[in-house]
């Protein structure tokens, strides 16, 4: 039997001695930060005033063994170049029109096959039990560019376990806010909205799947999917759905938006794979934003040691 092992532990994954000896204090601070963030979300704004995502400091964050030590992209790069078709087709549009969106108040509907009651949960209630950590992940867009982003968030699996999905829940389905009055892309109907994404239950429970509320220690800006978004680092960026308003435990594989739009080009799985080209361009290489030349793309975006076994026996060329 083949036993798969993670590569040797990297220096970046070793907890510094100082942190190790102060770990209780550290975890305390981090959980305080999570509560603080949730509290600030309630108290930080004048009552009744709707605002675009203000920048709040998320405090000290627990580091993660899953973080990469590659050079991080700058805050400027991460917040001014990305796809968020709700704001428009150009990669400058999300930043340009970010202020159109109000993210307070924010509720997330959780429903489907689960033991907990289906309900609209205030964002603060979604976040409050969780400890925020920093996860420095590679992000690979299906368009063959990539970045390294220091996300702040908590494992999706922790949230899923809270809601106790039943055995009928085989997939998790996510939905982005549908509000054409604030999303010009939805008014233009450049895709079918609301934007939908999904994960198989085992993918959703993988420790790498993250619900993110921040970047570089601060709350997310609207252009990056405020106030809460998914980050699935071994899949192409479009799987990491932004500005989530609904999480549903379902029996059937959800039809994700890009798959509906162009089925033969965008599949459900969308695992980063240099050997399976997009029908119209190669996925063998990528341009890391900030680098002059392209670099080779890694299988599962370099996270194979953590996720590859979930796809054992699957034909990844067919399940693209």
């Amino acid at each position: 039997m083949l036993i798969k092992q993670a590569p040797d532990i990297r220096s970046s994954e070793i907890t510094p001695e100082r942190l190790y000896y102060n770990r209780r204090q550290f975890i305390h601070a981090a959980s305080g930060a999570a509560l603080g963030a949730a509290g600030a979300a309630v108290l930080g704004q004048p009552a009744g005033e709707l605002q675009a995502a203000p920048q709040e400091d998320l405090g000290e964050l627990r580091p993660s063994q899953f973080s990469t030590d590659e050079r991080q992209n700058s805050y400027e790069e991460i917040t001014s170049y990305n796809n968020f078709y709700e704001f428009g087709l150009d990669k400058e549009d999300p930043k340009r029109y970010a202020d159109d969106l109000t993210v307070k108040p924010w509720t997330v509907r959780v429903e489907g096959h689960m033991n907990r009651p289906a309900a609209d949960y205030a964002l603060e209630d979604i976040l409050s039990p969780h400890t925020l950590e920093e996860r420095i992940y590679r992000l690979r867009c299906v368009e063959a560019w990539s970045m390294v982003v220091p996300w702040v968030g908590f494992p999706l699996r922790d949230l899923i376990q809270r809601f106790e999905p039943t055995s009928r829940a085989r997939f998790v389905r996510f939905e982005t806010l549908y509000r054409p009055s604030e999303f010009r892309g939805q008014r233009a109907r450049n895709l079918q909205y609301p934007y939908v994404e999904g994960l198989r239950m085992d993918e959703a429970l993988n420790p790498l799947a993250l619900l993110s509320v921040g970047i570089y220690g601060k709350t997310l800006l609207n252009q990056n999917g405020a106030p809460i978004r998914l980050v699935v680092p071994w899949k192409y960026g479009f799987k990491s759905i932004k500005s989530i308003v609904k999480i549903e435990f379902v029996e059937d594989q959800p039809r994700n938006t890009w798959n509906v739009a162009i089925p033969h080009e965008y599949g459900f799985y969308a695992n980063v794979n240099p050997d399976v080209d997009h029908p119209r361009w190669s996925q063998a290489m990528e341009r890391r934003i900030g680098n002059f030349f392209r670099q080779r793309t890694q299988r599962f975006n370099g996270y194979g040691y953590q996720v590859a076994r979930m796809y054992d026996g699957m034909d990844l060329a067919r399940n693209y």
């Binding site: 400027e76 990669k91 400058e92 368009e143 080209d277 119209r280 063998a284 290489m285 934003i289 002059f292």
Partner: protein, 210 residues
Amino acid sequence: MATASWIPRVKPFVFLACLIPALLLGWDAFTGGLGVNPIEDITHRTGDWALRFLLVTLAVTPLRRLAGWNGLVRFRRMVGLFAFFYAVLHFSTYLVFDHFFDLLLIIDDVAERKYVTAGFVGFVLMIPLAVTSTQGWIRRLGRRWTALHRLVYASAVAGVVHFLWLVKIDIGEPLIYAVILALLLGARLAHRYRGHGGAVRTGATGAARS
């Protein structure tokens, strides 16, 4: 010709105007105005301008016929060469920055990626047109020059198809180019069917070089 006397005086200004997109690109490159993904920005901008100049070149003959601005034809070669100039910048960006002379990767790309194939075809078709754009070649090739330069239609179609095939879902912009190209080519067909075809086929008149 009396009408032609203003042309040499205007030409330098048109030349400079055609250079503006390249100058802006250079300016942005030095002042950090190319954004977060500069190479993508250079690629898109040079590609856009190659296509735009190609369409302007193709607009000369219909405008001349419709509006009777015969002097326009004296600018056609220059505008056409600017289309080639921006296409060379576009292709060089791809060659140097995108693939850094990795020939195997480029061959694979051109062969496998249909939008790259289309773009490559459009570019290669422009090369003989640029080479034979001199007075000497026009004389040497005579009537065959006209036939050869009809390749510009194929090049423009390839360019528009290249654009249409590379976008993810936002076909709005390439469609605008497609519609303009269809109008420009349609104007030529209409001209032909209205009984001017003989002249085009024999190359007997100046109007043949369209």
